[in-house]
């Protein structure tokens, strides 16, 4: 008896099924983001810019200061919890002698300075940006990481929090290779 009017008409279940598949798809997307987002960058070169230095707001940093050496460029914000997860890894990479620059996206310079004093600072240059540079780099959200060579050519672009695995598997070999080829040119 009960089963008779449990879902008598199967077509009425259709909205539910479509809705659930949409949710599953979106859930998948939400969790897929960090792992599938190693991508060829759509922007070829680091754009020209002149933006304030987070550590001394009176000074600016230009593209020329960044160039000349292979480097990681890490885009992050102080309000973004995922970005802070990456911090220990960046410190470790820094200790191994790799160069890291930061682009601080829409963040409070004072807070960040305080925070870096406690946590340690992996960044050679930390550029304060309210969206102009990040937009021209095609950044979708924080954190994202770029690998650029001495000429500012973008070699790798990774969306999401950098992990140890991604660093060792992809970034480190490319970093070594880029440094090597720069030395040969010199």
């Amino acid at each position: 008896m009960m089963t008779d009017y449990f879902f008598q008409h199967k077509r009425l279940l259709l909205p539910f099924l479509i809705f659930i598949s949409l949710v599953v798809f979106l859930y998948h997307q939400l969790n897929q983001q960090p792992t599938t987002h190693l991508r060829p960058s759509q922007v070829q070169y680091l754009p020209q810019f002149e933006l304030p230095n987070t550590f001394d707001l009176q000074q600016t940093i230009t593209t020329q200061q960044i160039l000349g050496k292979t480097a990681l460029v890490h885009i992050w914000s102080h309000w973004c919890t995922e970005c802070t997860i990456t911090h220990p890894l960046l410190m470790q990479i820094k200790k191994q002698g790799y160069q890291i620059h930061g682009i601080l996206y829409r963040s409070d310079a004072h807070t960040v300075k305080n925070w870096l004093q406690i946590q340690g600072n992996p960044y050679t240059y930390l550029i304060l940006d309210n969206g102009s540079l990040t937009t021209s780099l095609g950044v979708k959200g924080t954190p994202e990481t770029f690998l650029i060579d001495a000429t500012g050519h973008i070699i790798l672009h990774y969306r999401g929090a950098l992990t140890h695995h991604i660093w060792q598997e992809h970034f480190q070999p490319m970093y070594e290779q880029a440094t090597h080829s720069t030395q040969i040119k010199k």
Binding site: Y5, F6, F7, Q8, H9, L12, L13, P15, F16, F19, I20, V23, F25, L26, Y27, H28, Q29, L30, N31, Q32, Q33, T36, R39, Q42, L51, P52, S77, W79, C80, T81, E82, D108, H110, T111, N114, L128, D129, N130, G131, S132, K140, G141, T142
Partner: protein
């Protein structure tokens, strides 16, 4: 202390909503009056607690309490006071708090205007809304609490509000949009309540329709305000961008229109019960989906909030719980509500059904376009962005088709339209439509494209149908007097004409827009259409929290001065980015629009001049639509006869 008090209010509100979710339904099952009537004080309590929390947050903003992280990130001591207030809802945490406040406001509104609704239905509605508000309160407290402190190093001054948001339209755009967005939770709650305890469909639609109309009216106004803001603030003269967030608000709008018309059928003819309920659930589902897409950062846009995957996961779980349960309930119970009744091909029912299908298709197109980049990247087919070409190509024919269906539908009668009667109506409609279309086409002959032609003829057809319908009504109402015509009748026509006006505006602006980007020296004259723009140089101006370069441009038409405009480039003191403040000379038939570009050498500047005909019609049309919807609500209130119907025993 103050922020902690606000925090406490939110926690108490969470407890209240949990009680509202559990006790009244239990009371209904156990038939204990005291239990289920507990819903009323709980609703009041919820509203007052959330209002207090909201006011306390506002207080923290006004008093520049930068130890509150949210205040420090979005305000500044130099910010004028009205922007300090509007900064409360300028970012994620505060806007979610406002969302909750509005939700509580809607609950209270339902409670206070429920005289004709049976008590068990009212209690269920409140309880379901209590569930939704519970979800959002939990969301706020768990992932986006605006009262969190910035200790032990509170900054001396805040980060300032993003300059783009320091604007009048942005003070009122979010509240109005949210009233609409959140308002669709009320029809949703009514749908769910109906599925739990069946009622007579026509009575039920009578209770839901005013709420749907109000929500839709506010959504319309909110979208129009957003479009107006984008037009004058973003600096390139567009009024619709097909940005994911715009789409997120446009989808519930489209389905909202469908729902309004479906409810009309349900009230008059008790037809399409399943379809109406489906629309009721889907409309709110799209509101929640939009919130999820924007707040989770899955799609990026002008509106991007601070992203956090935790928030996305929470919202998605909440969304699937609320909507999933509703759809499951729908699958289980909606069968018992359908009562098939015959109607003819030539009838209002059929036309409204076609209208619903068109709107449904339109909504699907927008949804597909919005999610397409996600689908493509998940299949590893590369990065795709779906832009205006996709939407415009698919949307234009649908819009034109809708106009024709609308005009035809207005000339139909319920149930069955006799063919001779219809033809005699058309006989008087066709000359009017032809005349109107001919005038319009001759006026814009130089720029006439097939699309514009079809849009203009479609609009003429609707106007002709409206005129025909009104004269018919006048003839019929002759003896009894015109004042007997109900206000909601005028509301309907007002909304339809608003749509025509908006579509006309959109079509004409697109077709007749003229623009020119030039390099100018002081004294130079640029001619664009009938207008001459004279650039008179640039001076430096100081504002309260910014410095700017202000250009002076004098505009002439046939050697008569029309206007003097002052476009600016602003540099805000606490932020590094520069904003373009465009200058507009507005008019009913055209806008003159100037955006100052970049400084070049030797006092040269780049500058963009635009003449945008009929652009105001888009927003005026939206205002008419909203006004029409509100007239319908008011008409119902003034004629309580419509509200009073015998409450029949539920048909099961």
């Amino acid at each position: 202390m103050i922020p902690e008090l606000g925090h406490l209010c939110l926690i108490l509100a969470l407890c209240f909503s949990a009680l509202l979710l559990v006790i009244p339904p239990l009371g209904l099952t156990l038939k204990r009056q005291a239990w289920y009537q507990f819903a009323y004080p709980l609703t009041w309590g919820l509203f007052l607690l959330i209002l207090t929390a909201f006011l306390l947050l506002t207080f923290s903003f006004i008093t520049n309490d930068f130890s509150v992280a949210y205040v420090a990130a979005h305000s500044n001591t130099q910010l004028p006071i009205w922007y300090q207030v509007s900064a409360v809802w300028s970012a994620h945490e505060g806007s979610i708090l406002m969302w909750i406040l509005i939700q509580a406001g809607w609950m209270l509104a339902v409670l206070l205007n429920a005289s004709s609704i049976p008590e068990h239905m009212l209690i269920r509605v409140l309880s379901i809304l209590g569930f939704i508000i519970f979800g959002f309160l939990l969301f706020t407290l768990a992932t986006s609490n605006p009262f969190l402190r910035y200790l032990p190093y509170p900054p001396q001054n805040g980060d300032d509000l993003i300059p783009l948001l320091q604007d009048f339209a942005l003070i009122i755009h979010p509240p109005i949009l949210y009233i609409g967005y959140v308002g669709f939770s009320v029809p949703f709650a009514f749908v769910t309540a109906l599925l739990i305890a069946p009622e007579k469909l026509s009575n039920w639609s009578r209770w839901v329709r005013p709420w749907t109309l109000i929500a839709w009216a506010f959504l319309t106004l909110g979208i129009a305000l957003g479009s107006w803001w984008a037009y004058y603030e973003l600096g390139w003269g567009g009024w619709w961008f097909w940005d994911p967030v715009e789409n997120a608000s446009f989808m519930p709008w489209l389905l909202g229109v469908a729902l309004l018309h479906a409810l009309a059928i349900a009230e008059k003819r008790e037809l399409f019960a399943q379809w109406t309920l489906f629309l009721g659930i889907s409309t709110f589902a799209l509101c929640l989906l939009g919130t999820f897409l924007v707040r989770s950062g899955l799609l990026s846009s002008v509106h991007t909030f601070a992203n956090d995957s935790e928030r996305g996961t929470y919202l998605l779980c909440f969304l699937s719980l609320v909507i999933g349960l509703a759809f499951l309930l729908y699958a289980y119970r909606a069968t018992r509500l359908s009562i098939p009744k015959p109607f003819d091909w030539l009838s209002t029912e059929m036309m409204l059904l076609i209208n619903n299908l068109l709107l449904g298709t339109a909504c699907f197109i927008v949804l597909l376009g919005t999610l397409f980049p996600l689908i493509m990247s998940s299949l590893d087919w590369g990065d795709f962005s779906v832009g205006p070409p996709y939407f415009n190509t698919l949307f234009t024919p649908l819009t034109i088709l809708t106009l024709w269906v609308l005009g035809t539908g207005l000339s139909m009668r319920w149930q069955k339209t006799a063919l001779p009667a219809l033809l005699s109506q058309w006989k008087s409609m066709i000359p009017i439509a032809t005349l109107l279309a001919a005038i319009a086409c001759i006026l814009f002959l130089d720029h006439l494209t097939p699309t514009l032609f079809l849009a203009l003829t479609g609009c003429s057809w609707v106007v002709a149908a409206t005129i025909q319908d009104i004269t018919y009504r006048f003839k019929k109402a002759d003896k009894k007097g015109l004042y007997r015509i109900r206000l909601n009748y005028w509301g309907m026509h007002c909304a339809h004409l608003g749509l025509v006006m908006a579509i006309c505006g959109a079509a004409l602006t697109t077709a007749l827009n003229q623009e020119n980007e030039v390099k100018v020296l002081p004294g130079m004259i640029t001619t664009l259409g009938d207008y001459q723009f004279r650039f008179d140089g640039v001076s430096r101006v100081k504002g309260p929290n910014y410095q700017s370069h202000q250009a002076k441009v004098t505009i002439f038409k046939n050697k008569h001065q029309v206007a003097t405009l002052y476009p600016e480039k602003r540099q805000y003191l606490t932020q590094t980015d520069i904003t373009t403040e465009i200058a507009i000379d507005p008019g009913f038939f055209r806008d003159l629009y100037i955006a100052l570009g970049e400084p070049l050498e030797d006092h040269n500047w780049t500058i963009r001049f635009q003449v945008k005909p009929f652009i105001r019609w888009i927003w005026l049309g939206a205002i008419l639509m909203a006004l029409g919807a509100l007239l319908c609500v008011w008409g119902r209130k003034r004629h309580p006869k419509i509200m009073q119907t015998k409450i029949l025993s539920p048909q099961i």
